[in-house]
């Protein structure tokens, strides 16, 4: 079965540093998402992306966050100046078409901000 690939699997950074989390969605998918899951808490929606622009974003996705699809395959999440509370597992997901189509998740990037 096709997979969503995320790199790195673990990222440790100092507070205030910039991090870029990378995702390669499934090749024929059109809708891309970032979610995060703080240890012991619910999965939280961050942002959705379609047709090279953000479709929706949550309150978590403030000015410190940005997403890009720099080429035909990668989808990145950048955090400009990391905070301790950004420590979480970040999941990328993609789907082929509208809601109702299966959402495929990557294995996640565990971000630790020290």
């Amino acid at each position: 079965e096709p997979e969503v690939t995320q790199t790195p699997s673990h990222q440790v950074t100092q507070m205030g540093q910039e991090v870029i989390l990378r995702c390669v969605p499934i090749s024929n998918h059109l809708y891309f998402y970032w979610y995060r899951q703080i240890l012991g808490q619910k999965v939280e929606f961050l942002v959705s992306f379609y047709n090279n622009e953000i479709s929706e974003k949550s309150e978590i996705f403030d000015d410190q966050f940005s997403v890009e699809r720099p080429d035909g395959s990668n989808f990145t999440l950048k955090i400009r100046s990391t905070k301790l509370e950004d420590s979480a597992m970040y999941f990328c997901a993609s789907r082929k078409r509208e809601l109702g189509e299966k959402l495929f998740f990557g294995s996640g990037t565990q971000l630790s901000v020290l």
């Binding site: 999941f91 809601l99 294995s107």
Partner: protein, 112 residues
């Protein structure tokens, strides 16, 4: 703000027993999905229910969407140790085509 309350948070039972996990909300969802998540992995979709009252079966797992599309249940018959894992429900809000509202998850342990 739409919320999904999932219960129980933790369940440990013997192999062969039946169990039900619930997701409840005061809000209407356009669809509801059930996922299973293994440690260190992303959630994997089990099923999507769309129509009020819909029932879907996946082997020993039965998923039901409430008539009013505000709640859902997952029933496992004759649980097996291989069913052990974290089960998550996630609802698509009536006012959003992209966001998913997530339950907190049910950690299920099936003892041999």
């Amino acid at each position: 703000t739409q919320l999904l309350e999932q219960s129980p948070q933790f369940l440990s039972i013997q192999e062969g027993e039946n169990l039900t996990v619930y997701c409840n909300s005061s809000s209407v969802f356009s669809s509801l999905q059930w996922y299973r998540q293994e440690p260190g992995e992303g959630p994997v979709l089990l099923v999507t229910v769309v129509t009020g009252g819909e029932v879907k079966k996946l082997k020993r797992l039965t998923f039901q969407f409430g008539d009013a599309r505000k709640d859902s249940s997952l029933h496992i018959t004759a649980a097996q140790p291989g069913d052990t894992g974290l089960y998550l429900c996630a609802g698509a809000g009536a006012d959003s085509n992209y966001q998913l509202i997530w339950g907190a998850g049910t950690k299920l342990i099936i003892k041999p």
